[in-house]
Each structure stands twice: as C-alpha cells, then as structure tokens.
C-alpha cells in the first residue's frame, strides 16, 4: 500500500481547483511528474510543486496536510483509493465521487458531495450549504454513496437528492431535504425552517420534534422494519452521526410535501 503526502506550504490567496489531486489520477506518477501538474487558481495556473511539499510514493492513499478553505474540488470525480485531508477544505468536496473514501478532519465548504455517485465521504467538522445538493442547472444532486458529517450542515442539505445516504451528527440548516427526489437523510440534531420543502420522495429522519411545513400530513407512529436494515447497514460506522433509530423504536411518520403532490416522508424518532 503506497502512500503519498502533499503538505500545503502556505494558504493561497485565491481558491485553487484541486480536482487533479486524487489517488487514482496520481497513481504511478513520480514526485517530479506530480510536482509539474498544473492546478487552476482564478485566471492563473499554479503547479503542485509551487503549492505543496511532496513526500512518499503515489498509490492507494493520498494525504493532504495543512489544508485550508481555499482548496476547492478536493476529491472531485475520484475513482478509488483513499484520500485523507488534514485541515479544512473549500467548496465542491467530493463532487462527482465515483468510488473510494474521502475523510476530512476539519470543515468543508458549500456543495460537498454534489453529483456524488458512490463511495464514502466523511467530514469530521461542519459543512457549508447545499450538502449533496444539485448545482445550478443540474436536475439531481447526489446520486449515491454515503456522506457522514460529524458536525453541523448548512442550508439546503440534500436539495434535489436522488439517491444515497447523508448522516449529519449535528444540526442542519433551513430547507433540509428540499426538493428531495429519493434517498435518505438523517439529522441527529435540530433542523432549521421548512424541512422537506417541496419534497417529492425519500426519507428525512429526525431525532427531535420540530415545526414542519403545514403541507406534511401526520400518518401516525409506526415501527418501520426498513430502519433495522438501515441501522444494520450503518452498524460499523463509529461517528457522532451513527444511526439513532435502534431496533424496535417507533417513529412518527409525516408525508409530504403535499403542496406539490409529494410522497416524501419525515420520520421523527422522539
């Protein structure tokens, strides 16, 4: 198992597109070749060697140290391997992730996991708005995989979410699960205003009661077997966002958003 470490020398003045820096794209390349890779930064191009100290041998695991919020598109379209980021990251973390595992020790910016297809994205800190959401012009947000956020998430978590699971260990902002098409979002803490706004399908699992839009209809409390399947699927995950619907727990089921004929569900375990 080869491992390469890229250590950011100093925070760049403006954001840098780090999408070329994934284990699968760097695999087999020498340190010299990697140092010569150009990264887009505003209207300029910077080489990896200008921004990072390079250590180790490229292969399955890539570590980015000393990261900061100016590093955008980390792990974008990554296809396999493991990417470990020490520090904060910018926007579009794991956008279009195809497979593999990304872990960020700090916080992440907006549009993390947008267009993600499969794999696992784990952010230990907070994330910005539009987690797993569709970017402007796209009809669907995240398409699959597992996203774990130990901290808080911003507004519009899972906007247009199509498939996959998002676990938020802290709180989530306004319009959580808005326009959601399918998939599963679980928020362990509180959510902001109008969760499930214009929701079509899918599941939003909450652990505490909250004010729901008037267009969600109460379907009563139930013991839903699929929550056991979800809990078992997530059983190995050791995080604050781990499943909070233990076997046999009843949930209150609200269906909506009936304002647009939606059949999504908000399940409240409390």
């Amino acid at each position: 198992m080869s491992r390469m470490v890229l250590t950011l020398k100093s925070p760049p003045a403006i954001v840098v597109d780090c999408s070329p820096l994934t284990p699968d794209r760097l695999a087999g390349k020498s340190a010299t070749a990697i140092a010569a890779i150009e990264l887009q930064s505003g209207n300029r191009r910077l080489t990896v060697g200008e921004l990072f100290d390079i250590d180790g041998e490229s292969g399955d695991t890539l570590v980015i140290r000393n990261a900061c919020s100016k590093l955008d598109r980390i792990g974008a379209n990554m296809n396999g391997g493991s990417l470990e980021v020490e520090g904060d990251v910018g926007a579009f973390l794991g956008a279009g992730l195809l497979s593999g595992r990304i872990r960020v020790s700090g916080k992440a910016g907006a549009f993390a996991a947008t267009g993600m297809v499969a794999g696992t994205l784990h952010v230990c800190g907070n994330v910005g708005d539009f987690l797993g959401a569709a970017i402007a012009g796209d009809k669907q947000g995240m398409l699959g995989g597992l996203v774990i956020v130990d901290g808080d998430a911003g507004d519009r978590v899972g906007d247009h979410l199509r498939r996959g699971i998002i676990l938020v260990g802290g709180n989530a902002g306004d319009y959580c699960a808005s326009r959601m098409l399918a998939g599963t979002i679980a928020v362990r803490g509180r959510v902001g205003a109008l969760p499930g706004y214009a929701m079509k399908r899918g599941t939003l699992l909450l652990s505490c009661t909250t004010d729901l839009p008037a267009t969600f209809n109460d379907c009563g409390t139930h013991e839903l077997l699929f929550l056991r399947l979800l809990a078992r699927h997530l059983a190995g995950i050791d995080t604050a966002a781990a499943p909070f619907a233990p076997h046999g727990e009843r949930v209150r089921r609200f269906v909506g958003d009936r304002a647009n004929g939606g059949l999504g569900e908000i399940l409240i375990t409390a």
Binding site: R163, T184, H222, L229, R232, H233, H247, L263
Partner: protein, 298 residues
C-alpha cells in the same frame, strides 16, 4: 453390498440440472415465518405438475437474517430460470406478501436473478418506496399491518434435482419409520430439500403410460400388490416401498444427503424390517448426474 442386513443394489439415482434460488423469509416470530414459508413452498412436490419443487431448508435465528428477526430459508427449484421466475413471483406474491409481518430477502448470489420486489412493488399502487442500502435494493410496500419489505431480486444458481433412493421393507409401517428417520437426519443438512410430503413419496413413477395422454405412470415393478404379475422387482417378502427424492444446490449436497439418509435407514437394518435400498433411474441416458449407491456408502 450388505449393511446391517440391508442389501444395497448395484445401481444409481439419475438426476437432472435445474435452476434454484434461496429465499430468506422473516417475520415477527418463527411461527409466522414458517406460516409464510410453508405456504410459499406448498404444492411444490414435482416440476411435472407443480412447476417447482421447493421446501424449507432450515430455520434461521435472528442474528442470521438481514432484518434481525427470526426466519427460515427456503429453496425453490425449477427446470429453467424463466419458469423459476414465474414460480417465485407467484409464490412470494400470493403466500409471503399476504402473510402477516413477513419480509423476504435473497439468500443467494448469482449472475442470473429472479424478480422479487422488482415486480411485486406495483401492488403498492404508487405508494411503494425504494431503499438502496449497501448495494442491495429493498422495496417498502404499504400493507394493512404496516409495511412489507421485499428485496429487489434473488440470485439464481445452477442446481441438481432428482437425487433419490428407494427403501424396501417387509411392511408399510417399517418402510415409513425408516424413511422418517432418514428425513430427520437429512433435514439437518444445508443445501437440500426433500420436496414431497414429509420428505417421502409413495407413488414412484415410470416414464410413459398405456394411456397416450400421460407421460408418466405408476412404477408397477415396485408395487407390492402387482408382485405376481411378471415384471416385478420385488421379492415375495417385500411389503412396501417408499422413495425419498432430494433436490440440492450442488451435486455434493445431494451425495451427502443420500449418504446420511441411507445410513439412517441402514441403522434400523434388517431387524427393523428393512430389506433393500435401490434407486430410480432412466438407464443413465436422460440425467446428467448419476449417484451410485455403493460408491456413496463405501
């Protein structure tokens, strides 16, 4: 070969390639899982008239099932993947979906699949919900006691059907008791089912009939009441013959089940009225698999 006074014929059972699937049926408790499984594997003794051969493979504890509830695994066999798909859909749709608290999951992998929730979801009339966990798709179908959970599809594997042996005894009850002992031992084995009632069949058949409409008819050579007519294979002191038919996932599964079953019969032995063990075949020309009794018991 004679074991404990029981003569083992120099012959073989002839078996055929089939397609099979394993389903895991769970419920709130084992009682209701068995109700669903018994219904789904009912009327499945022979592909000739039932379209499928099926049975309960074993009971599963709650830590062996996908949803953490008690359950049973069932094996369903058919002559082709197409026929298997038809049978599985009908049986799950009519017998598992309808059974209180039930859920059904795939119990085996295979490149070929038979649909479970893929088609049954339409019963939900648009209220069905898909959940994709760990690469497996489950369908949630609202029903009157809550939700029916059903995996999208089940794997299909190549399997073997028609392993068999015949027990010849001095009396009907002695043959029956020996077969009961054999079935009790064989049901502890994985990968096999004995699809006839109680695992035992009394109406062994031969190919063809004097009546043109029938493709099979009674195995007159082994009918004790026809012993004196001429073509009988029975000795004058044989009072009854019973057969055990075995379907298995692999050839080795059937071989092991036949060994355990025949050993149980031989353990009763001549003192219990058991005279002979033989097997049914078609001269070896029709079936791909031959299970030689003496090799198995050697």
């Amino acid at each position: 070969m004679i074991i404990n006074g029981v003569a083992i014929d120099e012959t073989f059972a002839e078996a055929f390639g089939m397609r099979a699937t394993r389903l895991i049926i769970t419920a709130a408790n084992l009682r209701w899982a068995k109700h669903a499984a018994n219904a789904a594997t009912g009327f499945a003794t022979s592909v000739i008239g039932c379209g499928a051969e099926a049975g309960i493979e074993r009971e599963l504890s709650s830590d062996e099932t996908p949803d953490g509830r008690p359950g049973v695994s069932v094996l369903i066999f058919a002559v082709s993947a197409k026929e298997l798909a038809k049978q599985v859909e009908r049986r799950v749709g009519q017998c598992v979906l309808t059974s209180p608290t039930s859920a059904v999951f795939s119990g085996c992998d295979g490149e070929e699949k038979v649909a479970l929730g893929k088609n049954l979801r339409y019963f939900a009339d648009g209220f069905q919900i898909s959940k994709l966990f760990g690469g497996r798709r489950y369908w949630r179908v609202p029903v009157m006691d809550g939700e029916f959970i059903c995996e999208e599809a089940a794997g299909v594997v190549k399997a073997v059907g028609g392993g068999n042996f015949l027990v010849l005894a001095a009396s009907q009850m002695q043959a029956l008791l020996a077969c009961e002992a054999a079935i009790d031992a064989m049901r502890k084995l994985p990968g096999v089912v004995m699809p006839f009632p109680g695992g035992v069949v009394r109406s062994g058949s031969k190919v063809g009939s004097k009546y043109k409409a029938l493709s099979a008819s009674t195995n007159d050579a082994f009918c004790p009441t026809l012993r004196g007519i001429g073509s009988s294979e029975l000795s004058p002191d044989t009072g009854a013959v019973l057969e055990i038919v075995i379907d298995g996932i692999t050839e080795a599964d059937i071989r092991q089940a036949m060994r355990i079953g025949m050993q149980a019969v031989c353990a009763i032995g001549a003192d219990g009225g058991i005279q002979r063990i033989t097997a049914g075949n078609y001269g070896g020309k029709l079936g791909k698999y031959h299970f030689h009794l003496r090799e198995i018991l050697a």
